[in-house]
Protein backbone atom coordinates (compact mmCIF):
# COMPACT_ATOMS: atom_id res chain seq x y z
CA UNK A 1 0.00 0.00 0.00
CA UNK A 2 1.52 3.33 -1.01
CA UNK A 3 1.52 6.40 1.17
CA UNK A 4 -1.37 8.11 -0.65
CA UNK A 5 -3.76 5.25 0.06
CA UNK A 6 -2.42 4.90 3.58
CA UNK A 7 -3.36 8.52 4.15
CA UNK A 8 -6.71 7.82 2.55
CA UNK A 9 -7.61 5.10 5.03
CA UNK A 10 -6.04 6.56 8.12
CA UNK A 11 -8.17 6.88 11.21
CA UNK A 12 -8.09 10.25 12.89
CA UNK A 13 -8.46 10.60 16.68
CA UNK A 14 -11.76 12.38 16.04
CA UNK A 15 -13.13 9.14 14.62
CA UNK A 16 -12.42 7.43 17.92
CA UNK A 17 -13.95 10.28 19.88
CA UNK A 18 -17.14 9.99 17.85
CA UNK A 19 -17.27 6.22 18.16
CA UNK A 20 -16.64 6.30 21.90
CA UNK A 21 -19.45 8.83 22.27
CA UNK A 22 -21.77 6.62 20.24
CA UNK A 23 -20.79 3.68 22.43
CA UNK A 24 -21.55 5.63 25.61
CA UNK A 25 -24.96 6.63 24.26
CA UNK A 26 -25.67 3.01 23.42
CA UNK A 27 -24.60 1.67 26.79
CA UNK A 28 -25.91 4.39 29.11
CA UNK A 29 -29.58 3.27 29.33
CA UNK A 30 -28.40 -0.23 30.31
CA UNK A 31 -26.21 1.26 33.00
CA UNK A 32 -29.01 3.54 34.17
CA UNK A 33 -31.29 0.52 34.41
CA UNK A 34 -28.78 -1.19 36.71
CA UNK A 35 -28.33 1.98 38.80
CA UNK A 36 -32.05 2.40 39.45
CA UNK A 37 -32.59 -1.33 39.95
CA UNK A 38 -30.06 -1.32 42.78
CA UNK A 39 -31.24 1.88 44.47
CA UNK A 40 -33.71 2.24 47.25
CA UNK A 41 -36.97 3.86 46.29
CA UNK A 42 -36.41 7.17 48.12
CA UNK A 43 -32.99 7.86 46.56
CA UNK A 44 -34.51 8.01 43.10
CA UNK A 45 -35.97 11.45 43.49
CA UNK A 46 -32.49 12.82 44.13
CA UNK A 47 -31.26 15.75 42.12
CA UNK A 48 -28.74 15.31 40.54
CA UNK A 49 -29.92 11.83 39.48
CA UNK A 50 -27.97 8.91 40.96
CA UNK A 51 -25.03 7.69 38.88
CA UNK A 52 -23.66 4.76 40.84
CA UNK A 53 -25.25 1.42 41.71
CA UNK A 54 -26.14 0.73 45.35
CA UNK A 55 -27.08 -2.38 47.29
CA UNK A 56 -30.87 -2.50 47.24
CA UNK A 57 -31.35 -4.89 44.35
CA UNK A 58 -32.40 -7.77 46.62
CA UNK A 59 -35.09 -5.63 48.26
CA UNK A 60 -36.39 -4.37 44.94
CA UNK A 61 -36.48 -7.75 43.28
CA UNK A 62 -38.11 -9.18 46.39
CA UNK A 63 -40.99 -6.77 45.86
CA UNK A 64 -41.25 -8.00 42.27
CA UNK A 65 -41.51 -11.61 43.43
CA UNK A 66 -44.13 -10.77 46.05
CA UNK A 67 -46.16 -8.84 43.54
CA UNK A 68 -48.98 -10.99 42.23
CA UNK A 69 -50.36 -8.29 39.94
CA UNK A 70 -47.77 -9.02 37.25
CA UNK A 71 -46.80 -12.68 37.83
CA UNK A 72 -43.19 -12.04 36.93
CA UNK A 73 -41.91 -15.59 37.48
CA UNK A 74 -44.72 -17.06 35.41
CA UNK A 75 -43.81 -14.57 32.71
CA UNK A 76 -40.15 -15.52 32.85
CA UNK A 77 -40.92 -19.22 32.61
CA UNK A 78 -43.45 -18.69 29.81
CA UNK A 79 -40.94 -16.67 27.83
CA UNK A 80 -38.33 -19.42 28.16
CA UNK A 81 -40.83 -22.05 26.99
CA UNK A 82 -42.27 -20.05 24.11
CA UNK A 83 -38.93 -18.71 22.84
CA UNK A 84 -37.37 -22.18 23.05
CA UNK A 85 -40.13 -23.95 21.14
CA UNK A 86 -40.42 -21.24 18.48
CA UNK A 87 -36.64 -21.14 17.95
CA UNK A 88 -36.28 -24.92 17.49
CA UNK A 89 -39.27 -25.03 15.17
CA UNK A 90 -38.21 -22.08 13.01
CA UNK A 91 -34.73 -23.56 12.57
CA UNK A 92 -36.03 -27.02 11.65
CA UNK A 93 -38.84 -25.94 9.33
CA UNK A 94 -36.63 -23.22 7.84
CA UNK A 95 -33.76 -25.55 7.08
CA UNK A 96 -36.06 -28.23 5.63
CA UNK A 97 -37.79 -25.79 3.31
CA UNK A 98 -34.58 -23.89 2.59
CA UNK A 99 -32.90 -27.14 1.56
CA UNK A 100 -35.83 -28.07 -0.68
CA UNK A 101 -35.82 -24.68 -2.39
CA UNK A 102 -32.05 -24.61 -2.83
CA UNK A 103 -31.27 -28.16 -3.86
CA UNK A 104 -34.34 -30.10 -4.97
CA UNK A 105 -36.20 -29.87 -8.24
CA UNK A 106 -39.98 -29.79 -8.12
CA UNK A 107 -42.85 -28.26 -10.01
CA UNK A 108 -43.82 -24.76 -8.87
CA UNK A 109 -40.58 -24.18 -7.01
CA UNK A 110 -39.89 -20.68 -8.25
CA UNK A 111 -43.46 -19.47 -7.83
CA UNK A 112 -43.60 -20.80 -4.28
CA UNK A 113 -40.27 -19.21 -3.40
CA UNK A 114 -41.49 -15.91 -4.78
CA UNK A 115 -44.61 -16.22 -2.60
CA UNK A 116 -42.40 -16.51 0.46
CA UNK A 117 -40.36 -13.45 -0.48
CA UNK A 118 -43.51 -11.40 -1.06
CA UNK A 119 -45.00 -12.42 2.29
CA UNK A 120 -41.88 -11.08 4.02
CA UNK A 121 -42.90 -7.62 2.89
CA UNK A 122 -46.47 -7.64 4.21
CA UNK A 123 -46.79 -6.16 7.69
CA UNK A 124 -48.12 -8.70 10.18
CA UNK A 125 -50.41 -6.10 11.73
CA UNK A 126 -52.62 -6.39 8.67
CA UNK A 127 -53.96 -9.68 9.99
CA UNK A 128 -54.07 -8.75 13.66
CA UNK A 129 -57.81 -8.30 14.20
CA UNK A 130 -59.03 -11.49 12.47
CA UNK A 131 -56.22 -13.47 14.07
CA UNK A 132 -57.37 -12.25 17.46
CA UNK A 133 -60.86 -13.47 16.60
CA UNK A 134 -59.48 -16.86 15.52
CA UNK A 135 -57.67 -17.24 18.84
CA UNK A 136 -60.98 -16.62 20.62
CA UNK A 137 -62.74 -19.19 18.44
CA UNK A 138 -60.04 -21.77 19.14
CA UNK A 139 -60.31 -21.08 22.89
CA UNK A 140 -56.62 -20.21 22.93
CA UNK A 141 -57.00 -16.85 24.62
CA UNK A 142 -54.57 -16.46 27.54
CA UNK A 143 -52.83 -19.75 26.67
CA UNK A 144 -49.34 -20.30 25.33
CA UNK A 145 -50.76 -21.84 22.15
CA UNK A 146 -51.80 -18.37 21.08
CA UNK A 147 -48.25 -17.00 21.21
CA UNK A 148 -46.48 -20.13 19.98
CA UNK A 149 -48.37 -21.87 17.16
CA UNK A 150 -48.67 -18.93 14.70
CA UNK A 151 -44.90 -18.33 14.95
CA UNK A 152 -43.61 -21.87 14.44
CA UNK A 153 -42.55 -20.96 10.90
CA UNK A 154 -40.89 -17.87 9.48
CA UNK A 155 -40.62 -16.66 5.90
CA UNK A 156 -37.36 -14.95 6.74
CA UNK A 157 -36.02 -18.23 8.14
CA UNK A 158 -36.86 -20.16 4.98
CA UNK A 159 -35.34 -17.47 2.79
CA UNK A 160 -32.17 -17.18 4.86
CA UNK A 161 -31.58 -20.95 4.93
CA UNK A 162 -32.24 -21.15 1.21
CA UNK A 163 -29.62 -18.49 0.50
CA UNK A 164 -27.09 -20.21 2.70
CA UNK A 165 -27.79 -23.72 1.39
CA UNK A 166 -27.43 -22.52 -2.20
CA UNK A 167 -23.87 -21.41 -1.67
CA UNK A 168 -22.67 -23.67 1.14
CA UNK A 169 -23.71 -27.08 -0.18
CA UNK A 170 -22.40 -28.42 -3.46
CA UNK A 171 -24.66 -30.40 -5.76
CA UNK A 172 -21.95 -33.07 -6.02
CA UNK A 173 -22.24 -33.78 -2.33
CA UNK A 174 -25.96 -34.43 -2.63
CA UNK A 175 -25.42 -36.44 -5.81
CA UNK A 176 -22.90 -38.57 -3.95
CA UNK A 177 -25.46 -39.21 -1.25
CA UNK A 178 -27.99 -40.33 -3.85
CA UNK A 179 -25.52 -42.70 -5.50
CA UNK A 180 -24.97 -44.30 -2.13
CA UNK A 181 -28.72 -44.89 -2.00
CA UNK A 182 -29.63 -42.39 0.68
CA UNK A 183 -33.19 -41.10 0.78
CA UNK A 184 -33.80 -37.37 0.51
CA UNK A 185 -34.49 -37.13 4.22
CA UNK A 186 -31.28 -38.98 5.05
CA UNK A 187 -29.40 -36.54 2.85
CA UNK A 188 -31.03 -33.66 4.72
CA UNK A 189 -30.25 -35.13 8.09
CA UNK A 190 -26.70 -36.42 7.47
CA UNK A 191 -25.33 -33.98 4.91
CA UNK A 192 -27.38 -30.79 4.72
CA UNK A 193 -28.19 -30.07 8.34
CA UNK A 194 -24.56 -30.31 9.54
CA UNK A 195 -23.47 -28.04 6.70
CA UNK A 196 -26.16 -25.49 7.57
CA UNK A 197 -25.09 -25.29 11.20
CA UNK A 198 -23.51 -21.80 11.11
CA UNK A 199 -26.58 -20.26 9.47
CA UNK A 200 -28.87 -22.24 11.76
CA UNK A 201 -27.05 -20.81 14.77
CA UNK A 202 -27.53 -17.22 13.61
CA UNK A 203 -31.17 -17.82 12.67
CA UNK A 204 -31.73 -19.46 16.04
CA UNK A 205 -30.23 -16.53 17.92
CA UNK A 206 -32.21 -13.95 15.96
CA UNK A 207 -35.42 -15.92 16.39
CA UNK A 208 -34.85 -16.38 20.09
CA UNK A 209 -34.25 -12.66 20.63
CA UNK A 210 -37.23 -11.68 18.51
CA UNK A 211 -39.58 -14.07 20.30
CA UNK A 212 -38.26 -13.13 23.73
CA UNK A 213 -38.82 -9.45 22.91
CA UNK A 214 -42.12 -9.61 21.07
CA UNK A 215 -44.79 -7.49 22.65
CA UNK A 216 -47.81 -6.50 20.57
CA UNK A 217 -49.25 -9.96 19.93
CA UNK A 218 -48.64 -11.43 23.42
CA UNK A 219 -50.13 -8.23 24.84
CA UNK A 220 -53.24 -8.72 22.71
CA UNK A 221 -53.88 -12.36 23.62
CA UNK A 222 -52.45 -12.82 27.12
CA UNK A 223 -53.45 -11.34 30.47
CA UNK A 224 -51.38 -10.60 33.55
CA UNK A 225 -52.56 -13.98 34.89
CA UNK A 226 -50.49 -15.90 32.37
CA UNK A 227 -48.15 -13.37 30.72
CA UNK A 228 -44.88 -13.57 28.86
CA UNK A 229 -42.05 -11.59 30.36
CA UNK A 230 -42.65 -8.46 28.26
CA UNK A 231 -46.37 -8.44 29.03
CA UNK A 232 -45.59 -8.84 32.72
CA UNK A 233 -43.15 -5.91 32.56
CA UNK A 234 -45.73 -3.70 30.90
CA UNK A 235 -48.39 -4.46 33.49
CA UNK A 236 -45.87 -3.98 36.27
CA UNK A 237 -44.86 -0.57 34.97
CA UNK A 238 -48.47 0.53 34.39
CA UNK A 239 -49.47 -0.34 37.93
CA UNK A 240 -46.29 0.54 39.83
CA UNK A 241 -44.87 3.45 37.89
CA UNK A 242 -44.29 5.19 41.19
CA UNK A 243 -42.15 2.30 42.42
CA UNK A 244 -39.47 2.64 39.77
CA UNK A 245 -36.84 0.65 41.58
CA UNK A 246 -39.15 -2.37 41.61
CA UNK A 247 -40.05 -1.97 37.95
CA UNK A 248 -36.41 -1.49 36.97
CA UNK A 249 -35.29 -4.52 38.96
CA UNK A 250 -37.75 -6.58 36.91
CA UNK A 251 -36.71 -4.91 33.66
CA UNK A 252 -33.05 -5.57 34.40
CA UNK A 253 -33.68 -9.24 35.17
CA UNK A 254 -35.73 -9.56 31.98
CA UNK A 255 -33.02 -7.91 29.89
CA UNK A 256 -30.00 -9.61 31.42
CA UNK A 257 -30.37 -12.99 29.63
CA UNK A 258 -30.33 -11.23 26.28
CA UNK A 259 -27.35 -9.10 27.17
CA UNK A 260 -25.44 -12.24 28.19
CA UNK A 261 -26.46 -14.04 24.99
CA UNK A 262 -25.34 -11.00 23.06
CA UNK A 263 -21.99 -10.70 24.78
CA UNK A 264 -21.28 -14.39 24.15
CA UNK A 265 -22.57 -14.58 20.57
CA UNK A 266 -22.46 -10.90 19.57
CA UNK A 267 -19.77 -11.45 16.96
CA UNK A 268 -21.92 -14.02 15.14
CA UNK A 269 -25.10 -11.95 15.48
CA UNK A 270 -23.46 -8.83 14.13
CA UNK A 271 -21.78 -10.84 11.39
CA UNK A 272 -25.05 -12.55 10.51
CA UNK A 273 -26.90 -9.26 10.20
CA UNK A 274 -24.24 -7.79 7.94
CA UNK A 275 -24.09 -10.99 5.91
CA UNK A 276 -27.86 -11.03 5.43
CA UNK A 277 -27.83 -7.41 4.31
CA UNK A 278 -25.42 -8.00 1.48
CA UNK A 279 -27.01 -11.18 0.28
CA UNK A 280 -30.63 -10.07 0.16
Amino acid sequence: MNSASRRLWRTSPLTYVALVLATLFSIYPFYYMVVIATRSLDSINDVPPPVTPAGSFGDNFGRVLDNDAANFLTGLLNSVIVSGIVTVSVVITGSLAGFAFAKLRFRGRNALLLTIIVTMMIPTQLGLIPLWGMIQDLNWFDTLYAVTVPFLVSAFGVFMMRQYATQAISDELIEAGRVDGASTFRIYWNIVLPALRPAAAVLGLLTFMETWNSFLWPYAVLTSENPTLQVSLAFLSYAYYTDYSQVFAATAVGTLPLVIVFIVFGRQIVGGIMEGAVKS
Binding site: L104, I129, T184, F215, F235, F248
Partner: protein
Protein backbone atom coordinates in the same frame (compact mmCIF):
# COMPACT_ATOMS: atom_id res chain seq x y z
CA UNK B 1 -27.19 -41.40 -17.91
CA UNK B 2 -29.88 -38.94 -18.90
CA UNK B 3 -27.46 -37.24 -21.25
CA UNK B 4 -26.85 -40.40 -23.27
CA UNK B 5 -30.59 -41.06 -23.41
CA UNK B 6 -31.23 -37.77 -25.20
CA UNK B 7 -28.33 -38.01 -27.64
CA UNK B 8 -28.48 -41.67 -28.67
CA UNK B 9 -31.62 -42.90 -30.43
CA UNK B 10 -33.39 -45.65 -28.51
CA UNK B 11 -32.25 -48.93 -29.87
CA UNK B 12 -34.71 -51.81 -29.53
CA UNK B 13 -31.95 -54.29 -30.24
CA UNK B 14 -30.18 -53.62 -26.97
CA UNK B 15 -32.72 -53.30 -24.14
CA UNK B 16 -31.28 -51.92 -20.92
CA UNK B 17 -30.46 -54.70 -18.54
CA UNK B 18 -33.35 -54.96 -16.11
CA UNK B 19 -32.68 -56.06 -12.58
CA UNK B 20 -34.49 -59.30 -12.10
CA UNK B 21 -35.19 -58.90 -8.40
CA UNK B 22 -38.61 -57.45 -7.51
CA UNK B 23 -37.25 -55.91 -4.39
CA UNK B 24 -34.99 -53.62 -6.34
CA UNK B 25 -37.72 -52.33 -8.60
CA UNK B 26 -39.87 -51.56 -5.60
CA UNK B 27 -37.10 -49.60 -4.00
CA UNK B 28 -36.58 -47.92 -7.34
CA UNK B 29 -40.17 -46.68 -7.44
CA UNK B 30 -39.90 -45.60 -3.84
CA UNK B 31 -36.89 -43.52 -4.81
CA UNK B 32 -38.88 -41.95 -7.62
CA UNK B 33 -41.72 -41.12 -5.25
CA UNK B 34 -39.18 -39.70 -2.84
CA UNK B 35 -37.58 -37.52 -5.52
CA UNK B 36 -40.84 -36.30 -6.90
CA UNK B 37 -42.95 -35.62 -3.84
CA UNK B 38 -40.75 -35.31 -0.78
CA UNK B 39 -39.82 -31.67 -1.55
CA UNK B 40 -43.46 -30.75 -0.99
CA UNK B 41 -43.31 -32.46 2.37
CA UNK B 42 -40.38 -30.27 3.38
CA UNK B 43 -41.96 -26.99 2.44
CA UNK B 44 -45.42 -28.01 3.69
CA UNK B 45 -44.98 -26.94 7.35
CA UNK B 46 -44.24 -23.40 6.30
CA UNK B 47 -47.14 -23.12 3.89
CA UNK B 48 -49.68 -24.80 6.17
CA UNK B 49 -48.96 -22.70 9.25
CA UNK B 50 -48.38 -19.50 7.33
CA UNK B 51 -51.54 -20.11 5.34
CA UNK B 52 -53.70 -20.52 8.43
CA UNK B 53 -52.18 -17.91 10.75
CA UNK B 54 -50.66 -15.46 8.26
CA UNK B 55 -52.29 -15.32 4.88
CA UNK B 56 -55.86 -16.16 5.85
CA UNK B 57 -56.16 -13.42 8.53
CA UNK B 58 -54.70 -10.87 6.12
CA UNK B 59 -57.27 -11.65 3.47
CA UNK B 60 -60.00 -11.81 6.07
CA UNK B 61 -59.07 -8.29 7.15
CA UNK B 62 -60.06 -7.08 3.69
CA UNK B 63 -63.36 -8.98 3.89
CA UNK B 64 -64.10 -7.69 7.39
CA UNK B 65 -63.41 -4.11 6.37
CA UNK B 66 -66.44 -4.27 4.05
CA UNK B 67 -68.72 -5.21 6.94
CA UNK B 68 -70.21 -3.74 10.02
CA UNK B 69 -68.42 -6.41 12.04
CA UNK B 70 -68.57 -7.32 15.66
CA UNK B 71 -65.95 -9.75 16.93
CA UNK B 72 -68.61 -11.53 18.95
CA UNK B 73 -70.08 -12.74 15.67
CA UNK B 74 -72.63 -10.36 14.17
CA UNK B 75 -71.87 -8.75 10.85
CA UNK B 76 -73.59 -7.28 7.85
CA UNK B 77 -72.21 -6.26 4.48
CA UNK B 78 -71.94 -2.49 4.04
CA UNK B 79 -69.59 -2.12 1.06
CA UNK B 80 -67.12 0.72 1.36
CA UNK B 81 -68.98 2.58 4.12
CA UNK B 82 -66.16 1.98 6.60
CA UNK B 83 -63.68 3.63 4.26
CA UNK B 84 -66.00 6.56 3.65
CA UNK B 85 -66.35 7.01 7.41
CA UNK B 86 -62.58 6.80 7.77
CA UNK B 87 -62.02 9.77 5.49
CA UNK B 88 -64.23 11.88 7.76
CA UNK B 89 -62.86 10.50 11.00
CA UNK B 90 -60.86 13.16 12.83
CA UNK B 91 -59.25 10.61 15.19
CA UNK B 92 -57.98 8.72 12.17
CA UNK B 93 -56.33 11.83 10.75
CA UNK B 94 -55.00 12.70 14.18
CA UNK B 95 -53.38 9.26 14.41
CA UNK B 96 -52.03 9.63 10.89
CA UNK B 97 -50.45 12.97 11.74
CA UNK B 98 -48.91 11.56 14.92
CA UNK B 99 -47.57 8.50 13.14
CA UNK B 100 -45.94 10.52 10.38
CA UNK B 101 -44.62 13.12 12.81
CA UNK B 102 -42.90 10.50 14.95
CA UNK B 103 -41.83 8.62 11.85
CA UNK B 104 -40.02 11.64 10.41
CA UNK B 105 -38.50 12.61 13.75
CA UNK B 106 -37.08 9.14 14.12
CA UNK B 107 -36.20 8.06 10.61
CA UNK B 108 -34.33 11.10 9.35
CA UNK B 109 -31.88 11.66 12.25
CA UNK B 110 -31.48 7.91 12.61
CA UNK B 111 -30.46 7.32 9.02
CA UNK B 112 -28.16 10.33 8.88
CA UNK B 113 -26.47 9.22 12.08
CA UNK B 114 -26.24 5.64 10.83
CA UNK B 115 -24.65 6.83 7.61
CA UNK B 116 -22.13 8.86 9.59
CA UNK B 117 -21.28 6.02 11.97
CA UNK B 118 -21.05 3.46 9.19
CA UNK B 119 -18.64 5.72 7.37
CA UNK B 120 -16.47 5.93 10.51
CA UNK B 121 -16.57 2.18 11.05
CA UNK B 122 -15.57 1.63 7.44
CA UNK B 123 -12.05 3.00 8.05
CA UNK B 124 -9.47 0.37 7.22
CA UNK B 125 -7.12 0.91 10.12
CA UNK B 126 -9.76 1.18 12.78
CA UNK B 127 -8.86 -0.55 16.02
CA UNK B 128 -11.34 -2.47 18.20
CA UNK B 129 -13.65 -2.69 15.21
CA UNK B 130 -15.76 -5.61 16.44
CA UNK B 131 -16.12 -4.05 19.86
CA UNK B 132 -17.51 -0.81 18.42
CA UNK B 133 -19.86 -2.71 16.12
CA UNK B 134 -21.21 -4.75 18.99
CA UNK B 135 -21.58 -1.75 21.29
CA UNK B 136 -23.48 0.25 18.69
CA UNK B 137 -25.75 -2.68 17.89
CA UNK B 138 -26.45 -3.53 21.53
CA UNK B 139 -29.58 -1.33 21.95
CA UNK B 140 -31.33 -3.46 19.36
CA UNK B 141 -31.03 -6.45 21.66
CA UNK B 142 -33.34 -5.08 24.37
CA UNK B 143 -37.09 -5.47 24.12
CA UNK B 144 -39.16 -2.50 23.05
CA UNK B 145 -41.14 -2.74 26.27
CA UNK B 146 -37.98 -2.45 28.37
CA UNK B 147 -36.72 0.45 26.27
CA UNK B 148 -40.01 2.28 26.69
CA UNK B 149 -39.94 1.75 30.45
CA UNK B 150 -36.36 3.03 30.81
CA UNK B 151 -36.88 6.01 28.52
CA UNK B 152 -40.17 6.78 30.22
CA UNK B 153 -38.16 7.38 33.37
CA UNK B 154 -35.39 9.32 31.62
CA UNK B 155 -38.13 11.61 30.28
CA UNK B 156 -39.88 11.92 33.63
CA UNK B 157 -40.95 15.48 34.43
CA UNK B 158 -39.81 15.97 38.02
CA UNK B 159 -36.70 13.87 38.43
CA UNK B 160 -35.88 12.62 34.94
CA UNK B 161 -32.32 12.79 33.68
CA UNK B 162 -33.27 14.63 30.48
CA UNK B 163 -34.97 17.51 32.26
CA UNK B 164 -32.07 17.68 34.68
CA UNK B 165 -29.65 18.02 31.75
CA UNK B 166 -31.88 20.63 30.12
CA UNK B 167 -31.82 22.70 33.30
CA UNK B 168 -28.12 23.39 32.63
CA UNK B 169 -28.94 25.19 29.41
CA UNK B 170 -31.72 27.12 31.13
CA UNK B 171 -34.70 25.17 29.83
CA UNK B 172 -37.56 24.66 32.28
CA UNK B 173 -38.75 21.16 33.10
CA UNK B 174 -40.76 19.77 30.19
CA UNK B 175 -43.88 17.69 30.80
CA UNK B 176 -42.94 15.25 28.06
CA UNK B 177 -46.17 13.32 27.65
CA UNK B 178 -48.47 16.33 27.83
CA UNK B 179 -47.91 17.87 24.43
CA UNK B 180 -47.58 16.88 20.87
CA UNK B 181 -44.06 18.01 20.03
CA UNK B 182 -42.59 16.84 23.34
CA UNK B 183 -44.21 13.41 23.32
CA UNK B 184 -43.23 12.92 19.69
CA UNK B 185 -39.62 13.82 20.57
CA UNK B 186 -39.52 11.43 23.52
CA UNK B 187 -40.97 8.53 21.51
CA UNK B 188 -38.77 9.24 18.49
CA UNK B 189 -35.70 9.19 20.71
CA UNK B 190 -36.56 5.65 21.86
CA UNK B 191 -36.85 4.56 18.26
CA UNK B 192 -33.62 6.31 17.33
CA UNK B 193 -31.73 4.77 20.19
CA UNK B 194 -32.90 1.28 19.39
CA UNK B 195 -32.47 1.28 15.60
CA UNK B 196 -29.50 3.51 14.73
CA UNK B 197 -26.98 0.74 15.38
CA UNK B 198 -28.93 -1.79 13.35
CA UNK B 199 -29.06 0.52 10.36
CA UNK B 200 -25.39 1.36 10.82
CA UNK B 201 -24.46 -2.30 10.41
CA UNK B 202 -26.58 -2.76 7.30
CA UNK B 203 -25.11 0.37 5.70
CA UNK B 204 -21.62 -0.69 6.74
CA UNK B 205 -22.14 -4.04 5.02
CA UNK B 206 -23.14 -2.17 1.87
CA UNK B 207 -20.07 0.08 2.11
CA UNK B 208 -17.73 -2.86 2.45
CA UNK B 209 -18.98 -4.26 -0.82
CA UNK B 210 -17.70 -1.16 -2.65
CA UNK B 211 -14.37 -1.90 -4.40
CA UNK B 212 -11.47 -0.21 -2.63
CA UNK B 213 -9.61 0.69 -5.84
CA UNK B 214 -12.34 3.20 -6.69
CA UNK B 215 -11.26 5.22 -3.64
CA UNK B 216 -7.58 4.80 -4.38
CA UNK B 217 -8.05 6.04 -7.93
CA UNK B 218 -10.06 9.01 -6.66
CA UNK B 219 -7.41 9.79 -4.05
CA UNK B 220 -4.69 9.78 -6.70
CA UNK B 221 -6.80 12.26 -8.66
CA UNK B 222 -6.83 14.43 -5.55
CA UNK B 223 -10.43 14.00 -4.44
CA UNK B 224 -11.00 14.85 -0.78
CA UNK B 225 -12.60 12.38 1.62
CA UNK B 226 -15.79 14.43 1.60
CA UNK B 227 -15.91 14.37 -2.16
CA UNK B 228 -15.26 10.67 -2.22
CA UNK B 229 -18.13 10.12 0.16
CA UNK B 230 -20.52 12.04 -2.10
CA UNK B 231 -19.24 10.79 -5.42
CA UNK B 232 -18.41 7.17 -4.64
CA UNK B 233 -19.86 5.94 -1.35
CA UNK B 234 -23.37 7.36 -1.64
CA UNK B 235 -24.05 6.40 -5.26
CA UNK B 236 -22.65 2.90 -4.79
CA UNK B 237 -24.66 2.53 -1.60
CA UNK B 238 -28.01 3.29 -3.21
CA UNK B 239 -29.45 -0.26 -3.21
CA UNK B 240 -28.57 -0.76 0.46
CA UNK B 241 -29.88 2.68 1.34
CA UNK B 242 -33.21 2.01 -0.37
CA UNK B 243 -33.43 -1.26 1.56
CA UNK B 244 -32.79 0.50 4.87
CA UNK B 245 -35.25 3.31 4.13
CA UNK B 246 -38.02 0.89 3.25
CA UNK B 247 -37.34 -1.24 6.31
CA UNK B 248 -37.53 1.89 8.49
CA UNK B 249 -40.75 2.95 6.79
CA UNK B 250 -42.44 -0.38 7.42
CA UNK B 251 -41.33 -0.35 11.06
CA UNK B 252 -41.96 3.34 11.65
CA UNK B 253 -45.52 3.41 10.35
CA UNK B 254 -46.41 0.40 12.52
CA UNK B 255 -45.17 2.03 15.72
CA UNK B 256 -47.12 0.70 18.69
CA UNK B 257 -45.23 -0.43 21.77
CA UNK B 258 -43.18 2.68 22.52
CA UNK B 259 -46.15 5.08 22.59
CA UNK B 260 -48.35 2.55 24.40
CA UNK B 261 -45.91 1.91 27.24
CA UNK B 262 -44.99 5.59 27.34
CA UNK B 263 -48.72 6.27 27.91
CA UNK B 264 -48.81 3.65 30.71
CA UNK B 265 -51.08 1.44 28.66
CA UNK B 266 -53.54 4.12 27.68
CA UNK B 267 -54.50 3.08 24.15
CA UNK B 268 -55.58 6.58 23.13
CA UNK B 269 -52.01 7.87 23.69
CA UNK B 270 -52.04 10.79 26.12
CA UNK B 271 -55.06 12.62 27.48
CA UNK B 272 -55.80 14.36 24.19
CA UNK B 273 -54.65 11.58 21.84
CA UNK B 274 -51.54 13.67 21.26
CA UNK B 275 -49.42 10.62 20.50
CA UNK B 276 -51.87 7.93 19.46
CA UNK B 277 -50.43 6.18 16.40
CA UNK B 278 -52.33 4.42 13.63
CA UNK B 279 -51.46 1.00 15.05
CA UNK B 280 -52.83 2.09 18.43
CA UNK B 281 -56.01 3.39 16.82
CA UNK B 282 -56.43 0.11 14.97
CA UNK B 283 -55.97 -1.78 18.23
CA UNK B 284 -58.45 0.47 19.99
CA UNK B 285 -61.09 -0.10 17.32
CA UNK B 286 -60.48 -3.76 16.56
CA UNK B 287 -59.48 -5.34 19.84
CA UNK B 288 -60.20 -3.07 22.79
CA UNK B 289 -63.63 -2.30 21.44
CA UNK B 290 -65.14 -5.47 20.03
CA UNK B 291 -68.04 -3.74 18.30
CA UNK B 292 -65.97 -1.93 15.68
CA UNK B 293 -63.79 -4.77 14.36
CA UNK B 294 -64.84 -4.10 10.76
CA UNK B 295 -63.93 -0.46 11.07
CA UNK B 296 -60.62 -1.43 12.68
CA UNK B 297 -59.96 -3.71 9.72
CA UNK B 298 -60.46 -0.73 7.42
CA UNK B 299 -57.83 1.16 9.44
CA UNK B 300 -55.49 -1.83 9.02
CA UNK B 301 -55.88 -1.70 5.25
CA UNK B 302 -55.45 2.06 5.19
CA UNK B 303 -52.22 1.57 7.13
CA UNK B 304 -51.03 -1.03 4.70
CA UNK B 305 -51.78 1.22 1.72
CA UNK B 306 -49.89 4.08 3.36
CA UNK B 307 -46.88 1.86 4.00
CA UNK B 308 -46.90 0.68 0.40
CA UNK B 309 -47.30 4.23 -0.88
CA UNK B 310 -44.58 5.73 1.30
CA UNK B 311 -42.21 2.87 0.55
CA UNK B 312 -42.81 3.40 -3.15
CA UNK B 313 -42.24 7.15 -2.92
CA UNK B 314 -39.07 6.61 -0.88
CA UNK B 315 -37.85 4.12 -3.40
CA UNK B 316 -38.22 6.58 -6.27
CA UNK B 317 -36.97 9.56 -4.27
CA UNK B 318 -33.84 7.91 -2.92
CA UNK B 319 -32.98 6.50 -6.31
CA UNK B 320 -33.31 9.88 -7.99
CA UNK B 321 -31.54 12.07 -5.49
CA UNK B 322 -28.59 9.80 -4.94
CA UNK B 323 -27.96 9.26 -8.64
Amino acid sequence: MSLSATTAPPSPAAPPPRPPARRRSRSHSLTRLDLKYSPYLYIAPFFVIFGIFGLYPMLRTAWMSLHDWNLIGDHSFIGFDNYVALVKDEYFWNATLNTFGIFLLSTIPQLLLALFLANLLNRTFLRARTLFRMAIFMPNVVSVAAVAIVFGMLFQRDFGVINWLLSFVGIDAVDWDAERWSSWTAIASMVNWRWTGYNTLILLAGMQAIPRDLYEAAALDGASQWKQFWRITLPMLTPTFVFVVILSTIGGLQLFTEPLVFANGNIIGGDQREFQTLAMYMYELGIENLNTAGYGAAVAWAMFLMIALVSGINFLLVRRTVK
